[in-house]
């Protein structure tokens, strides 16, 4: 067998575009978070809660990734912020090219924070960088405390973990200590917020953390 050495990164095309996206975001002093979680984890409800609390302080837009529907986009739009919908048409994740195309529909000069709600899935979105400042993994306590063991990569790649639906803790067998130990073993530096989007618990702390990330980004580019 004659061998031809290649050594070419499989994700090179995506990585090149995500790097372009990052440069665009940096030029506009725009903080970008890539929100990843399973279907039903409560991503959209969390975003509704966050947007209500933050829209008087920051100018926000949302890119909504969904396989087919525009349901989530409508909910976010009702909060009074700009929304761009991306339908992946069956694709299980957003890639950097889709995000770059979506940017054409936004006035980045007017924005402080861009939220990208990825397609509901803990596996594939972890592999595709979009040019974001950080990934936020959203996981509800009803999904069970074994998720970090089953989907470790997304916990490793994320800067912040938002544990949702904590108002349901008393109805679920969710061992918070075991869960947090597992997460810390995979990603010791991860920021963790426990929230109930419905009751509002924990949202103010998360809002302050996000605003601080923007301030840090702005001060670094100044």
């Amino acid at each position: 067998m004659k061998k031809i050495k290649i050594v070419k990164s499989v994700l090179k095309a995506n990585d090149r575009v995500s790097e372009q996206n990052r440069q665009i975001f940096d030029q506009h002093n725009l903080l970008v978070m890539n929100v990843i979680g399973s279907p039903g984890a409560g991503k959209t409800t969390l975003l509704e809660g966050l947007i209500k609390r933050v829209k008087d302080r920051l100018k926000i837009a949302v890119i909504e990734g969904d396989i087919f529907t525009i349901r989530d986009a409508k909910r976010i739009e009702a909060c009074g912020v700009d929304v761009v919908q991306i339908n992946t048409g069956g694709g299980c994740h957003l890639d950097a090219v889709m995000v770059q195309e979506a940017l054409e529909n936004l006035n980045l000069n007017k924005l402080d924070l861009l939220v990208i709600e990825n397609v509901g899935n803990l596996v594939c979105p972890a592999a595709f960088n979009l040019g974001e400042d950080f990934k936020m993994v959203v996981m509800s306590i009803t999904e069970g405390d074994d998720k970090p063991e089953k989907y470790p990569r997304i916990f490793q790649e994320s800067k912040v973990l938002v544990v949702t639906k904590i108002d349901l803790l008393k109805y679920n067998q969710f061992d918070m200590e075991r869960f947090l130990n597992e997460v810390k073993g995979i990603q010791p530096d991860i920021e963790i917020f426990k929230v109930s989007s419905i009751k509002g618990e924990g949202l103010d702390e998360l809002v302050e953390w996000i605003i601080k990330q923007l301030e840090v980004k702005k001060s670094m580019s100044a």
Partner: protein, 127 residues
């Protein structure tokens, strides 16, 4: 199921290389996959079998070499093999930095030029 889109990217890379080397067909595609990429080998093989039909890769097989996760702790100046995705240093218990295990690339292509068969024939004759 991102394996399918990853395999599509692999086909793009391989077909561009085949063109560059003037090859109409190949017999082996070797990829390296880090154990921290969450890429399923079986799904990759499946996607490869599906996509190769009717291409110059029709008779090719996919070989996957896995690269284990390795982390480095600066405090202990220690390199250690990661246990799954756990990044905690076994000596001091603090978080290290990943230095291997996130690879995902096409390593090489193989073209059957009959060499092995010739050798084999010699073996048979020699016996």
């Amino acid at each position: 199921m991102h394996e399918l889109s990853l395999m599509q990217s692999i086909f793009e890379i391989v077909e561009a290389e085949m063109k560059a080397h003037g090859l109409a067909h190949i017999d082996l595609v070797k990829i390296k996959v880090g154990e921290l990429t969450a890429v399923e080998g079986a799904s990759m093989q499946f996607a490869f079998e599906v996509l190769k039909k009717g291409t110059g890769l029709e008779n090719a097989r996919l070989e996957i070499e896995y690269v284990p996760g390795v982390a480095y702790c600066a405090k202990c100046d220690l390199r250690y093999l990661m246990e799954g995705y756990r990044i905690i240093c076994p000596q001091c218990g603090r978080g290290g930095r990943i230095i291997a295990g996130k690879e995902l690339y096409v390593d090489s292509l193989g073209v059957d030029d009959g060499e092995e068969n010739k050798n084999c024939q010699k073996c048979i004759k020699g016996q």
